[in-house]
């Protein structure tokens, strides 16, 4: 690719590792397709949803929430300072959703039937809605990111057509995101007798949505810091401070909702009396919500790259924990202990590596960062 | 069974002891549950809490082998509290009979009855007799107060079975015993019925027969024999095992419970003379006085035209037992072990797993020249020569495996525990080369006969004279295909001539027709019947041939569930035996709401079930006693017929945890045949009993400290040959297991699922631990006794070549009941260690 046009200095560091991880992930996926889920995972009748659902789907979708939050900020709320990160955020989201879809195809038992929900409609199913939203939103993201391609290959005619649809696409993206980000929570509305009361709530769709916004902002911040470091670009400190403030506000709303929800249900006492569930719940809340709020609240943290990175990483970790907890405490009733099998971990790691790899290649060969056109 | 399966629903109290119907006769529980829903009480007495116990109103735990103390305690309770049914007892049993004043019981003779011969280990029964009056009839005291009358002797005998003693022996808690006694004794009222369901848990003991005798006495005391919802009911272990005993499969009987001829009974007249009981009492029907008719008709059935007056009806051709000869299971395999047999047919059985002391059985098979294994599948018997610890090079036995077809691949009748013979049609043709048993026998017969025809031989007559008219014959005279209907008709029997009633001259039957009743059978060769009790099962009715066993009528005129038109029950379709005891001497039912029969005085006839004999009620001039199979016509509270005593007395099992019998100095049954050593010291050698080292036993020995018992589970059939290969069955019970109490498990550091080595003096097996509160330690004679339990449905062949556990009969001893020689597999001693 020596003669390919680049927009950033190719960064060979770590690329070999990424290729290896992706390659191993592909082999692990082949193992799953050859020998089945029983042989390749530690899932079973007691734990039908494992690591792949918890990370690749529930967390993956939430991690890609930066796409709609940043487009909303820039296009709907006209917050101009975030323009610089619109395209990276969309790229992250797009890659994220593609990875989610790959993860889903690996996880479902009949991969060749992945298209069934598109033609066999069962509109009362949350899963049906989620599949449709993800499909549509990935298309929207593809179109939102398409200008990067079109610019790269100088297809100005098409570019014009797309530009005309910018606002409809943005609005569609935000709406679809609301629907399915919340619906990932709505998955669990049907299990009042299974999911632990610390997590079960009729408002769980909204809790998922709000936490996805906070996570989206935090994730964009993390990715912005890391991208700048990787591509040796200056840190967007002003943007980071803004993202931090946004995340702090959203997290505060989330925390208030969560506590109010438990209080209304009269279940605040459960926070301390539920044994292992209490521990996991408190960890999730401390790491992902309370600690970040406390950090973000300090101006010096918001203005420090490392401070933002730390606080935002905590949000990422805490939200992923939340999705794990919701998934596994739904399935805890049978008393079966689940820890992912090696193959599951390799696939998941491979998918994350794939996302990072795709991001780095795109950032190198496509106009992702503003003002990076090189010849 | 004196009664029948459906009849359980008529009970007020159902006692299950020595059985486990929920697991081994699940369908019977349908009727138990019906009774329960109508308010009946259900009692289970067992060493372990079973699936039957789970349904019980009262569960009484007991140490294996202590049934007689528990039942003796019940007898004492009934007498002490005067809960017996006095009229019944006085009129219908020998309770009022006066016994020889020289008779003495174990209370006086330290565990023995009068007349014991130490050398011969048997009784001279001279003193076990009744006092006779000048007419040759037993002297009676209807007031039941004469100290020599049976009732007073019974009372005296069981006065030793106090609650304390019973509890001390059995380990059963006293409050539970009392609750049981109270509940069961409540059926002594005329309008109440109690029944008992028993199985191998009672029979497979050195005192097996006496276990059942004890219950029979209780049923007489409470007036529960012959009534709906009463009786003594053996739950037979296989669907057709009743049929097989009916048809004489045991060594000591011919079909229809005719005794097997002995060498000393040289001709038919002698046979009849020796086997026809006599009575001088005109009111006793004494049914066995017809013996001559039945044996003659039997000989006519099997030898046909060759059975003539001149040929003594072919009596000489029947095989004879030598005097004192016993060819029961243990004896047979002992003889085989000693090399006394050349060949052996293992037909539909798996002795290498089912035989007590199966290790000895396996060795015995190796002493044979040849063995024919007829079975649905190969089994541990057919493949014994490649079993564990066997080097095929050492085995010279030639084994022939003949594949038999299953019951659904052939037509014929089966007779269940209710004595109900039901005709079954064939569902599918036999698979592969498999054949029905009848076809295999047909082949065998034809070839053996041909050899005799060709070579003569020592005694060809028994074979050459046999009738064999079971279908069309080919040019060689071989039946091409056995027609089961013709076999069934031969069993029923024919009128070979026009037959007339000898007294009235009325014609009973036309020549050539099928016999309509065993009452029509003759001793002059004019009738045939392959099995007199089955006469009427396949009869001529209004000129037409009717297979009574194939009937499926659902009418229930009495409302008691007798279903007289459903199939056919022997004898003469009687559904409840001894039903004349269900009415008073005037023919009025004790319990009018559940009238089995009743006398219609206006029409001078019985209504309801087929009565035990057509005579009018006992009080009438021509009336008869109810227990027609007994020479004296009454129920035997005092039973001098048995080898080990007229009243059941408690003796410990051959292997037991106690040094001494709590009740007497006689530790074990004094009349059992010993294969090894002497009664009370396990240290003695084999020679004394004429046994082998394999027959060793260890009683009250610290090396084998735990009481063990064996049983079946719902999920497997007998030794498991038909179920272990069935993945669905094996999935439910996949491994040989050993059940034990948490207390024992704790003592030995055993966890659920642990692999255990269970050993007795005879051998050891692998078993997987099931630790459960359903087992509990017993307080016996002041010390703690642990009981363990093992199913016997496994074998080395499958699954996994024995790694899942071999047969628990490798542990069981060589000892049998004093009367029947049924092996004692329900109480023996083992040790349990982690493997």
């Amino acid at each position: 690719m020596a003669n390919m046009k680049t927009y950033a200095e190719p960064q060979p560091r770590g690329m070999r590792l990424l290729y290896i991880l992706v390659g191993v992930g592909i082999l692990a996926a082949l193992y799953r397709f050859t020998f089945g889920l029983g042989a390749s995972t530690n899932m079973g009748d007691d734990v039908p949803w494992g690591l792949w659902v918890a990370v690749d789907v529930l967390s993956g979708v939430a991690l890609a929430a930066g796409g709609f939050t940043i487009t909303a900020a820039v296009y709907i709320f006209n917050m101009k300072k975030y323009r610089a990160i619109v395209r990276p955020a969309i790229l992250t989201a797009f890659i994220g959703y593609v990875v989610v879809i790959i993860g889903l195809v690996i996880d479902i038992g009949k991969p060749f039937s992945f298209w069934h929900p598109l033609v066999m409609w069962q509109y009362k199913s949350v899963m049906f809605e989620v599949v449709w939203c993800i499909t549509l939103y990935t298309t929207v993201l593809a179109l939102e990111f398409a200008p990067a391609f079109l610019e790269r290959f100088k297809m100005d005619g098409l570019l014009k057509v797309l530009k005309f649809f910018t606002y409809p696409l943005v609005i569609a993206g935000i709406t679809l995101s609301f629907l399915h980000q919340s619906s990932l929570g709505a998955f669990f509305l049907i299990v009042p007798a299974k999911l632990h009361a610390l997590w079960y709530s009729p408002f769980i769709p909204y809790l998922f949505y709000i936490s996805a916004i906070a996570l989206g902002l935090a994730m964009v911040a993390v990715e912005s810091v890391l991208a700048a470091r990787t591509f040796k670009r200056p840190q967007e400190t002003e943007i980071l401070a803004g993202l931090s403030k946004g995340a702090m506000i959203t997290l505060s709303i989330y925390l208030a909702m969560k506590i109010a929800d438990l209080a209304l249900a009269g279940e605040l006492g459960l926070i301390l009396t539920s044994g292992a569930a209490s521990v996991f719940f408190l960890l999730e809340l401390l790491i992902g919500v309370i600690a970040p709020i406390a950090l973000y609240a300090q101006k010096k943290v918001r203005e420090s790259v490392n401070g933002v990175l730390l606080a935002s990483s905590l949000v990422v970790a805490g939200t992923v924990m939340n999705r794990f907890n919701v998934n596994f405490f739904t399935q805890a009733g049978t008393g079966t202990f689940y820890f992912p099998a090696l193959w599951e971990i390799l696939v998941t790691v491979g998918l994350i590596a794939l996302a990072v790899l795709a991001y780095r290649l795109a950032a190198t060969y496509l106009p992702v960062f503003h003002g990076t056109e090189r010849t | 069974m004196t009664n029948h399966w459906n009849d359980f629903k008529n009970s007020d109290v159902i006692l299950v002891m020595g059985a486990n119907p929920a697991e081994n006769h699940p369908v019977s529980m349908k009727w138990v549950m019906r009774a329960k829903e109508k308010g009946a009480k259900f009692i289970v007495v067992d060493p372990r809490y079973t699936r039957s116990a789970a349904q019980a109103d009262l569960f009484v735990p007991m140490r294996s082998g202590t049934d007689i103390p528990i039942l003796g305690g019940l007898i004492k309770y009934i007498i002490d509290n005067k809960l017996y049914f006095r009229d019944y007892l006085a009129s219908y049993t020998n309770a009022s009979f006066l016994v020889n004043p020289d008779f003495k019981g174990p209370g006086e003779l330290n565990g023995l009855f009068s007349g014991y011969d130490i050398e011969g280990r048997k009784y001279d029964k001279a003193t076990w007799s009744f006092q006779m009056d000048e007419n040759g009839l037993p002297k009676k005291d209807p007031g039941l107060s004469n100290p020599n009358c049976v009732f007073q002797l019974l009372k005296k005998h069981y006065s030793r079975y106090t609650l304390d003693v019973v509890s001390d022996i059995s380990g059963s808690p006293k409050d539970k015993l009392e609750a049981f006694y109270k509940m069961y004794a409540s059926t002594g009222r005329p309008d109440k019925a109690g029944t008992v369901l028993y199985a191998m848990g009672w029979t497979q003991h050195t005192v097996g027969t006496q276990n059942i005798r004890a219950m029979t006495i209780i049923q007489f005391l409470l007036g529960n024999m012959g009534v709906a919802g009463g009786g003594v009911n053996a739950l037979r272990g296989e669907s057709n095992v009743q049929g097989s005993t009916d048809h004489g499969i045991l060594f000591h009987i011919l079909p229809g419970y005719l005794p097997a001829p002995r060498a000393s009974w040289s001709d038919l007249a002698t046979y009849i003379e020796k086997n026809t009981p006599k009575t001088k009492d005109p009111k006793s029907l004494n049914w066995w006085s017809n013996r001559g008719k039945y044996i003659t008709s039997y000989l006519k059935a099997i030898y046909g035209g060759k059975a003539t007056k001149e040929s003594d009806f072919g009596y000489a051709w029947l095989p004879k037992l030598d005097e004192g000869m016993n060819l029961s299971w243990l004896m047979l395999f002992d003889a085989m072990f000693k090399g006394k047999y050349e060949g052996f047919f293992a037909w539909g059985q798996n002795p290498a797993c089912s035989g007590s002391n199966a290790g000895k059985v396996r060795k015995a098979l190796g002493k044979l020249k040849w063995m024919v294994n007829v079975n649905l599948f190969d089994n541990e018997t057919g493949s014994f020569w490649k079993g564990p610890d066997v080097d095929p090079k050492d085995i010279q036995t030639e084994v022939f495996q003949l594949p038999a077809c299953s019951s659904v691949e052939k037509e014929g009748s089966i007779t269940n525990s209710s004595r109900l013979a039901q005709w079954r049609v064939k569902a599918i043709d036999p698979i592969g080369q498999s054949k029905s048993d009848a076809e295999i026998v047909n082949e065998l017969y034809f070839r053996v006969r041909k050899l005799y025809q060709k070579e003569g031989g020592a005694f060809p007559a028994p074979i050459l004279n046999l009738t064999w008219d079971y279908g069309r014959k080919n040019a060689e005279g071989k039946v091409e295909e056995v027609n089961t209907h013709l076999v069934a008709r031969e069993i029923n029997g024919y009128y070979l001539e026009d037959v007339f009633d000898k007294k009235t001259g009325k014609q009973l039957g036309k020549k050539g027709e099928l016999c309509a009743s065993f009452a029509h059978l003759q001793d002059d060769g004019t009738t045939s019947s392959g099995n007199w009790i089955y006469a009427q099962s396949y009869m001529h009715k209004d000129g037409k041939i009717v297979n009574m066993m194939a009937r499926r009528g659902k009418a229930d005129p009495t409302g008691l569930g007798l279903y007289p038109e459903w199939a056919w029950a022997w004898p003469v379709n009687r559904r409840i035996l001894y039903n004349r005891a269900s009415v008073d001497v005037n023919g009025n039912p004790w319990n009018p709401r559940k009238a089995v029969i009743k006398w219609n005085a206006a029409e001078s006839k019985w209504e309801g079930d087929i009565p035990d004999g057509p005579a009018p009620p006992m009080a009438q001039e021509k009336g008869t006693y109810p227990f027609i199979m007994k020479p004296d016509g009454v129920g035997s509270v005092f039973g001098p017929g048995l080898a080990d005593g007229p009243f059941p007395e408690h003796y410990e099992a051959l292997e037991c945890p106690l040094q001494e019998n709590v009740l007497s100095k006689q530790r074990i049954n004094p009349t059992v045949k010993l294969f090894f050593g002497i009664t009370d010291a396990a240290t003695a050698g084999a020679a004394e009993g004429g046994g082998s080292a394999e027959d060793i036993f260890f009683s009250c020995d610290t090396r084998y400290p735990y009481v063990a018992t064996t049983y079946r589970v719902s999920e497997h059939w007998q030794t498991g040959v038909m179920t272990r290969h069935q993945p669905w069955q094996l999935e439910m019970v996949p491994q040989q297991f050993i059940e034990m109490s948490p207390e024992l498990a704790k003592e030995k550091g055993i966890q659920n699922g642990d692999k255990m080595k269970v050993a007795s003096g005879r051998g050891s097996i692998i078993a997987f631990a099931v630790v459960t509160d359903r087992f509990q330690p017993f307080k016996v004679a002041g010390s703690t006794v642990h009981q363990v339990g093992l199913p016997w449905c496994f074998g080395w062949q499958y699954p996994l070549h024995g790694r899942q556990g071999d047969s628990s009969n490798l542990l069981t001893p060589t000892i049998g009941d004093a009367n029947t020689m049924i092996p004692e597999t329900k109480a023996f001693m083992v040790n349990v260690e982690k493997a």
Partner: protein
């Protein structure tokens, strides 16, 4: 969804009558042509220990000690065939459907293997063919729908020797359950399990032992579980409308000064 109690078949399971013989377990395997999986004696007779793709029903042997006395209960477990099944509403492709005659039926041709039915089921019923690589089935009790359609009773009910189960119209068996509770006071726990759980099921249980002591989940709300999801899903049209209108208005309001529609995502002007 067909929830009519008079057209739907139902089964009353009277646990007081079960003797644990497991004829039902075998009859089910026989009729449904299921195989066996390797098992072990692990301390109880419950085998297989749990339902699986080859075992649609089994008897759960519940052993306890009450006042120093052993007690043993035999609990049949199989699909409850909810009136409004959570599994059917969860399935994105309609691979699980409630038939008017009662059975919750599975359609392999539609299934994608997402296993949301397994998550959604409050009774832990749908099981999965984990060993199959690309074409696994979700498996569960079929209510012997093909037998029912031919006027036969389900296989497990047919073989039961003690008539633990009564098969009939759902309203009939419900009435029978009520009758038994009324006629035998003190014999049963005063509750018909399945009458209200999860909005009602076609299989009803009555018992002499409190249900929570014999492994039945008594925390399942008396509510049609799909309603919980639907309460959220039915807001979608409004949400879509609200978002589109709201976002458009905000965008118009916030961008009114700088000539809307001129910028494209990611491109700095």
């Amino acid at each position: 969804m067909a929830n009519n109690n008079s057209t739907s078949k139902g089964v009353l399971v009277d646990l007081t009558r079960c003797i644990g013989c497991r004829g039902c377990q075998v009859a089910c395997k026989s009729w449904n042509e299921r195989s066996a999986k390797p098992t072990f004696m692990h301390g109880t007779f419950t085998n297989p220990p749990k339902l699986n793709s080859e075992t649609y029903t089994h008897i759960n042997f519940v052993e306890k000690t009450v006042q120093d006395e052993p007690v043993w209960h035999f609990i049949k477990d199989q699909c409850m065939h909810c009136k409004d099944p959570a599994c059917a509403s969860a399935c994105p492709v309609g691979a699980l459907t409630k038939s008017p005659s009662g059975p919750v039926a599975y359609h392999y041709d539609r299934c994608i293997g997402c296993r949301y039915c397994m998550i959604a089921c409050p009774f832990q019923i749908p099981k999965y063919e984990w060993e199959k690589s690309l074409f696994p089935w979700v498996r569960k009790c079929t209510f012997c729908s093909e037998r029912i359609a031919n006027n036969l009773v389900p296989a497990c009910i047919k073989v039961c020797p003690t008539q633990v189960m009564q098969f009939g119209a759902l309203d009939e068996v419900t009435a029978e359950a009520q009758k038994r509770l009324k006629n035998s006071p003190g014999k049963y726990v005063d509750h018909i399990y399945g009458k209200d759980e999860a909005g009602g099921t076609a299989w009803l249980y009555i018992s002499h032992v409190p249900f929570e002591q014999i492994g039945l989940n008594t925390k399942i709300p008396a509510q049609r579980l799909p309603d919980l999801t639907w309460a959220s899903l039915n807001k979608i049209p409004a949400a879509v409308g609200g978002f589109v209108v709201g976002l458009s208005l905000i965008a118009w309001f916030r961008n009114r000064g700088n000539g809307s529609g001129q910028s494209s995502p990611g491109k700095e002007k």
